[in-house]
Symmetry: C2
Subunit: 241 residues, 2 copies
DNA sequence: CGGAACTTTGAGTCACTTCAATCGGTGTGG
DNA sequence: CCACACCGATTGAAGTGACTCAAAGTTCCG
């Protein structure tokens, strides 16, 4: 398995020089398959290497002292799982697969070496800035919208993000989440998650069954939560820098 | 006005070479004072330069379609206000001062030049990773805690962040927020913000009046929300990289 | 066929919201 | 020096969105 998905991802943030590309592709990445539902990074883990998701779907989460769980991000192919381990020896949150995944391993000193290349460091910085932007939007989502709106917003976001990586077919895509996990993402109880989902279904906006989301009316869904995709920075058009 | 606050901030993320320091200090930064309560970056603005807060207190926020406002971050001296404008021509959120501030301006092409230096690019990446970490914690805060716990958590965070930059005296510090702004940060109505604040006060944990927070019992406050400061990455100890 | 995990639904309760009014401090003009 | 306006803080009361508890229905898999 090679670093192609990863290189493509970096390129989305700006031109990667031929030299850098060569460097990355020559870097043999160790790769492993991980089964669905396996928390492969746990809060507190000391990490000797950094993970890149090559295939599948994963999420970041924290379990608070109260035992409640909050999912704070979804990880798509090409994404770094734990760039943050660059600065902290121990992981400050956990990561679990949500379906069968392929994950590449980069030794930490290898990563340090990568960062000496301005082109790569810049691409990682940009990638981190977009993640920040998504996190800020989630904060607004959790703080200011009601249950149905929150859910519509999450589905809109995932629709656009999956679409851009080519994973949407006939307006539907794999979103391998249980309703409990959906609730942990939106800060809702399981029961209320179920009832909010029903409302969206009854408005003929979507169906969501066995980990597959089918969007019937994306315009309607966007309207429910006043969705605007600018925060996803999809166009890929960058100014200078 | 020079870039000292900024250099000190970068140094917190790892050694900055003498050459880089010289480069930064030689860079004459244009600096302006901005009065309290002035939104100096507005969502949609096309930015020709990047801002660094040198002195004061500011916040990021978004106004949703519904008119509701969400504050998504507080900006302290030394922080970049809009590193994200590196990747997007237009700002995707607004920033306002919360008290009188001093702000430095860096032309965008100057910043692009800075990023060609691996040491600086790395420091900015690290800074961005820590911001991400804080955003993730806020997501957990908004999603999983009740009003009183949320508020306690925010106060704990600000206590530690202000302390590390030397702005805490006698367990109290300037937090120039109205209760309405506090509510917009925590996703609470003004009325409930006031009532939650009262509960914390009645437990003799703190006082909060005219933009000044006095922490009477930090251990008690931490206990209310099960606060753990690891996500702030305060120690500054970094592994390789 | 049995069990586990997930989904669905109903009922009662509570945290938080909205509406509405008052109170206090501060600045301004007469 | 007082009257007035303004803004933020405070409080009470009523409404509601989301929660918890409880139970039954479904789907999937060994």
């Amino acid at each position: 398995m090679n670093a192609e998905v990863f290189i493509r991802k970096l390129e989305a943030f700006g031109p990667i020089s031929e030299d850098d590309q060569l460097y990355l592709s020559r870097m043999r990445l160790e790769c492993r398959r991980i089964a669905a539902g396996k928390p492969f990074i746990k809060s507190g883990d000391i990490l000797g290497h950094v993970h890149i998701l090559l295939d599948g779907f994963a999420c970041r989460y924290k379990v608070l002292g109260s035992g409640r769980r909050q999912i704070s991000a979804f990880i798509l192919p090409g994404d770094f799982c734990d760039a943050h381990s660059l600065i902290l020896k121990a992981a400050d949150h956990s990561i679990t697969t949500l379906c069968d995944c392929a994950v590449a391993y980069v030794a930490r000193d290898k990563l340090a070496e990568m960062l000496e290349r301005p082109g790569i460091a810049k691409a990682l910085l940009f990638s981190s800035l977009i993640e920040e932007s998504i996190l800020r939007e989630w904060i607004g989502n959790l703080g200011q919208r009601n249950a149905v709106q929150k859910m519509a917003h999450l589905f809109c976001e995932m629709y656009f993000r999956m679409k851009i990586v080519g994973l949407v077919t006939n307006n539907s895509f794999e979103l391998p989440l249980s309703q409990a996990e959906l609730g942990d993402t939106l800060g809702l109880s399981l029961v209320h998650t179920n009832k909010s989902l029903r409302k969206l279904r009854e408005q003929n906006l979507l169906t969501f069954r066995s980990g597959k989301l089918h969007v019937l009316d994306i315009a309607g869904l966007e309207k429910v939560c006043q969705f605007s995709s600018t925060y996803l920075h999809l166009e890929g058009g960058r100014p200078s820098g």
